[in-house]
Symmetry: none
């Protein structure tokens, strides 16, 4: 459904899941009270080991974003929205800063970096449009 994993991302798989849940909450795709997919279901969908999903859900639970409902599953908490909205930009900003710092320390001019970013951003938009035009899209 809304998650997609890229194993060569630099991010650990469980971390990608954690972040994507947070992003989904921040963007309203996942609302308080909604259930997240079961561990098995998500593990199958993403073709990862169930324990990896367990790990991600455990982290989210201990951060108060998910809560266990006995015998039912995990659902998004009330507090989650505020928490995730704040965190979304921070998480992204952090990664963006890291890569920009590296680009800068490689002695690329700011303008060259900006150009690189624009190129990739444009390519991304084009891809996104293409997918939207069709139907579902995955990574």
């Amino acid at each position: 459904m809304f998650f997609s994993i890229n194993p060569t991302n630099g991010l650990a798989i469980f971390d990608q899941i954690v972040r994507q849940v947070k992003f989904a909450v921040a963007s309203g795709t996942l609302a308080p009270g909604d259930m997240v997919p079961s561990v098995r279901e998500l593990a199958k969908e993403l073709a990862v080991n169930p324990n990896t999903v367990v790990r991600a859900y455990r982290d989210l639970t201990s951060e108060g974003i998910l809560e266990a409902v006995r015998g039912t599953g995990l659902n998004v908490t009330e507090d989650a929205v505020a928490h995730c909205e704040k965190e979304r930009l921070a998480l992204l900003r952090e990664r963006i800063r890291h890569v920009l710092v590296e680009a800068h320390s490689s002695r690329l001019e700011t303008s060259e970096i900006r150009e690189l970013v624009e190129e990739e951003l444009t390519r991304l938009e084009r891809t996104a449009k293409g997918k939207r035009g069709k139907k579902g899209a995955d990574s």
Copy 2:
């Protein structure tokens, strides 16, 4: 000297060293025939274990970017420049794309992403100017 390690940027230390050597070659900071800092020296400077530097240098050697001169050290090969110039953009582009893809999949609008990048880029420029204005400061 010209290398700096950031333990929280998601990249393995040896990989950061590898990339920084490549960037230094690409930008001309390190020219063919130049010697890279000795294993022990760099290890001390970066406060990492010598074996971590050995690992990075070995990888660079097997990529043909460095070559060992028995008993004297490692120097940058003639081929290195072409190799690194090509690779610099590819390496950076790769990381940039990954973070942009994540930002996009978090349902941020392209304009919002662009804004985030601009903010960080501006902050980066300001920091850089600041440093230049003073004297040497390091990360």
Copy 3:
């Protein structure tokens, strides 16, 4: 199992492992999709440090002969066979040439060298037969 280390043959241990994996692939003893022994297992079997095996496996991985399957182990790639078949003869030929060159430069006649080789080859055959005749014996 199929690997054996000889600490006095002039080759580094990790290199002997690398070569033996390649040879096993070239000879079909190890087929694409097969898992190589785990780092810890092989280290124990050869009585070497696990890191030495790690080093060998890493080299093989970066040559595209092995690939890591997260959390399960390393397996032989599809490409490995072609790669290793070509390399087997090259690796052996290289070593053979070196020793023949030395023998020749020691002013031995070609016929004398040939004789030496034949003697050792015969002894090798006899030993091999002996082993086959019994049961398993190792070096």
Copy 4:
């Protein structure tokens, strides 16, 4: 003059020198009473570090093959011939056996190994003839 170094031989440089001196003695190229080249001279000729030659000569001296003549240099001892003649075959045989063992353990048939050796031996003869035809020859 009669020595040549191959840095990619698998053998350490000092060891190549040691062996070549022994071979020269065994073949009569160097006779008891003959002086070996001075450390400086040989180091320059082979383009290696003088300390490497010192190391080789030290080993040879402690084996009783060379002896120091105060203020003159090093010369070949009386005992050297017998010693070296015996050792020549042993040294070569040892290396030959190592490579044959490896070839055999790579599951090459004896006939295939023999073929490989013959090919390289033939190539060696051809090269040697070529050189002899001309004048001096180097590695």
